[in-house]
Amino acid sequence: MFRSLLVANRGEIAVRIVRTARSMGIRTVAVYSEADADALHVREADEAALLGPAPVQQSYLDIARIIAAAQAHRVEAIHPGYGLLSENAGFARAVSGAGIAFVGPSPEAIEAMGDKSSARRLVARHGVPVARGTGNPPRTVAEALEAANGIGFPLMLKAAAGGGGIGMSAVESAEELERVFDQARARAERMFGVPDLLLEQLVRPARHVEVQIMGLNDGRVIALGERDCSVQRRFQKVVEETPARWLDDRIRERLLAAAVRAGECVDYRGAGTVEFLVDPTTGAFAFLEMNTRLQVEHPVTEMVTGLDLVELQLRIAAGEQVDLRAGRPRGHAIEFRLYAEDPVRFLPAPGRIDSWTLPDHEWFRVDTGYGAGSEVTRYYDPLIAKLCVHGDDRQAALARARQVLSEIVVGPVTTNLPLLRAVAEHPRFCEDTHDTRLLMND
């Protein structure tokens, strides 16, 4: 096993990774920006290295500075967390090139899944269902309209290089496509450096179901169950749970098998997530994307399996042969994402945390990088904490969720806590009959 690890991330995920690494006896090195000098992840790690000013381009995205910090602190491995550089194949190569182990899949696997158009084609060749959509990215309005004729409206317009729900929009008609196409290309170019767009059939109604996979060193890919992440705003997740109780067992088996195939076709190593949209009325499902890293909502999988996914990542990256069998999940787990944002319009709301009261229950897990006295700045994403509850079944987990959501006090920063409380009480969510439009309707 590695004796030392640098965590190239910040916030709750850096804290979470440092804790597991320290429990394994690994010396941990945090990196931080000037805005994060007092942050929890810096205090929790054994050592810390300043990267630069607050903006991510000058700190957490600066590959050269991160490698230099890793060398100065003589670490054997780098964990990228999620977001930031975690799906940057150039970073994975730079880490390996410096003689340091990258805790993640090969750069080739990151690249193959990084472009949505090529990922679709690749997994489709290996028998994974995909929605009707474009093969090569249309470059003009005329090409887009022609492609749209074969797909049908409504459809999704996505940045091919995008991910995590960024750079996506639903298009209802040919007129709308004509109006927004050039704008969407310009936006994709600005955000991801590549103007390519992907047109894809819009699955509606849809539940978002994803499968946690783990690629082992003997080449096997194991599925560790599914997560339902249908409560979303702006195509980004707010509440996630496992298992997906509403899912038919036969469809679940096919989903898990499809996810394993997606992993196998890129010779996947370590933790990854294969996302699907499932039409709950027919059970038909389509591949959405594969995230080649630890997923934000991985704690719910840990709560029902008893596994530590970060420990598994580290052991696999260190070359160990992990003996892993997917057991039956124990009970039900739900994660609520506490965001620093206006709960009505979902606008970001940076601010201070002065009051911070979280209950303590053995069935309640909080992953956070903040605490009383912290500042949630405008430089980083609005996730303050992941609030995770476990119960014997969905009803029990929901009751506990309502309890903790009423016990939590956080302020004066504006948070989406009122929205989380409303979701936990929402009849359709409670009945498990909601779909991805829940937060758009009411």
């Binding site: 620093a340 970001p348 405008r378 609005p382």
Partner: protein, 72 residues
């Protein structure tokens, strides 16, 4: 002149119009960036851009004046 003020604290990422441009209601005139999200700022009504009070890259606080639109 109708004032357009920032709804959140962040920074000005892109300014999409110039003084004198005529704009339609709900047309994007600039894009703010905060917490890794881009937040479009739209014209409250059809009119002509009378002034632009911020430059790309500057930090803004909630309520800061961003631009003015002359509404006929």
């Amino acid at each position: 002149m109708q004032e357009i003020r920032a709804e959140l604290s962040g920074s000005v990422w892109k300014v999409l119009v110039s003084v004198g441009d005529s704009v339609e209601r709900d047309q994007e005139i600039m894009i703010l960036e905060s917490m890794k999200m881009e937040i479009p700022v739209v014209a409250p009504a059809a009119g002509t851009i009378g002034s632009i009070e911020v430059a790309e890259g500057v930090a803004v606080e909630t309520g800061d004046l961003l631009a003015k639109v002359a509404v006929p």
